[in-house]
Amino acid sequence: MAIFKKPTLKTSQRKKRDIPQGLFQKCPGCEEVVSEIELNENLRVCPRCDYHFAVSAKERIGNLLDSQTFVEMDADLKSIDTLRFQGMASYKDRLKNYQERTGLTDAVISGHGMIEGYKVALAVMDFGFLAATMGSVVGERITRAIEYGTDERAAVIIVAASGGARMYEGMLSLMQMAKTSGALARHADARLPYLSVLTNPTTAGVMASFASLGDVIIAEPKSMIGFAGPRVIKETTHQDLPKGFQTAEFLEERGLIDMIVHRKKMRETISQLLGYLSSAP
């Protein structure tokens, strides 16, 4: 008979939360707890440390445009699975999954509207949809928005966020880089302004096409912006990455970005730039 009885181990019971989930979250910037209500009242920027939380494309459009002026274009475009891509999950399933989860049809919303009386063609990417990767629909909507700008002699504003090309669409995805950049070439020839707004994160194929081509390039604070992923760079070069590498601040310092603009000042800054670069409203 054992002299000592094995103590029965108990896992300490988790304290039950009194509040429903999702009402509060920890800010990745300052690690303080912020309430959803506070965030929503503050354009989803941490009131304590100014960390910019992700915002849906719809919210961004609401924040940027004069109220009731947005007209969505090309909402009827739908991605198709040309390559019949089967990985661990099929492309079709993923699309369906994200459409249900986000209520979006794809990773960009495009259209036209007004900012302080200036007519603009606008495309806003939504990272929540398949990491805002650029497939045919994203490329087509952005290209059509740019062409609309050229035809209507309007400024183009693209709010970018993206993990890059959408590999489920193979080379058709890569070709969207050429297509969108080509449309911008014509828009530029027509001497119309294009403002590129980079948000967290904007990378790879999107960064290596329209996102880098703005007459003015604006970034939200602390956004991760770059071409290759930091892990790939580390593995390829076996080098330690400099502090703040691939942040908006790093790129402003190194001359890629014209200005870093707080979300609360974005609309004001854009309308000011349009005042300089657009013909009078």
Partner: protein, 325 residues
């Protein structure tokens, strides 16, 4: 230089060796082995046809990356005359991964832009494995503008695993360098032909790939992501690269169907590395033929066509037209 067999080619190399042994044996000992030789020759033909006629996407990727495959400067030497390299981006450095310069194709003076890989460690250190920095793309743009100024067509020979993912690359804005090329190439007022001669690695390839005619050598590949990286993301393991290669539709024939490329340039059986002269002859014939047509086309029409070609790429469903306008 002895040819290095790829794994799937081993049966062919085995037969080739036996055939050679047999021939030598027959010569040295003066015995008639004609019937044996003929039998092996027939078997070799069948085996070759069987293997090279049914190459999988992954096998073609391996041929495209073959260390003995002709590289850009091998083609420059064989297809052009008077190669005059021009160096530097006038900003930061000369990118040795992207030699570029002036050369003549028949009687046509051209600007030639390339990606160049190395064949051994020393060369690869210099060429950075064909992975260019922003300087390469900016040098390319400088020379494309030079081409426009002097009304010379541009020929780009693409062979890169991708633009270089490194600290300097990011610090000097590789994305911007590529993006600007995409925009400027669309409106460059001279004919542009791009030929993928080996690896067409994503944005790094496209950065000199916006062209009136995009050619691809039969065993080259052109892909949005490397099969290995795609496998790592989608299967969480690089081992599925062969499946990824299949899924990505990155072979010349798949790309022709998708209209991403305009024309396939035939390679000698087994790949360009088996016969440099034939590969170069095929490429130069294709370049010559396409260039002649482009040079006849009025510039405005050329630019319209170029825009339309890239404008039309992408597959999607659409229910109504002009929504929201």
């Amino acid at each position: 230089m002895d040819l290095q067999p790829l794994d799937f080619e081993k049966p062919i190399f085995e037969l080739e060796r036996r055939l050679q042994d047999l021939k030598e044996h027959s010569r040295e000992h003066d015995v008639d082995l004609d019937s044996e030789v003929k039998a092996i020759e027939a078997k070799l033909r069948d085996t070759r046809r069987e293997i090279y006629g049914n190459l999988s996407a992954w096998q073609r990727v391996q041929i495209a990356r073959h260390v003995q495959r002709p590289f850009a400067l091998d083609y420059v030497e064989r297809c052009f005359t008077g190669w005059t390299e021009l160096r530097g981006d006038r900003c930061f450095a000369d990118d040795k991964a992207m030699p570029a310069g002036l050369a003549t194709l028949d009687a046509t003076r051209c600007v030639v832009i390339t990606h160049q890989k190395g064949r051994n460690t020393k060369e690869n250190v210099m060429r950075n494995f064909g992975c260019a920095h922003p300087e390469g793309y900016r040098k390319a743009l400088r020379l494309m503008r030079l081409a426009q100024k002097f009304n010379l067509p541009v020929i780009s020979l693409i062979d890169t695993p991708g633009a270089f993912p490194g600290i300097g690359s990011e610090e000097r804005h590789i994305s911007e360098a590529i993006a600007v090329n995409l925009r400027e190439m669309m409106n460059l007022r001279v004919p542009i032909i791009a030929a993928v001669i080996g690896e067409g690695g994503s944005g790094g390839a496209l950065g000199i790939g916006v062209a009136d005619r995009v050619l691809i050598l039969e065993n080259s590949y052109y892909s949005v992501i490397s099969p290995e990286a795609c496998s790592a993301i989608l299967w969480r393991d690089r081992k599925h690269a062969p499946e990824a290669a299949e899924a990505l539709k990155l072979t010349a024939h798949d790309l022709l169907k998708l209209e991403v490329v305009d024309e396939i340039v035939d390679e000698p059986e087994g790949g360009a590395h088996r016969d440099y002269e034939t590969a170069a002859f095929n490429l130069s014939s294709a370049l010559r033929k396409n260039l002649a047509k482009l040079l006849e086309t009025p510039t405005d029409q050329l630019l319209k066509k170029r825009y339309k070609k890239f404008r039309g790429l992408g597959n999607f469903a659409e229910s109504k037209t002009n929504s929201g306008r």
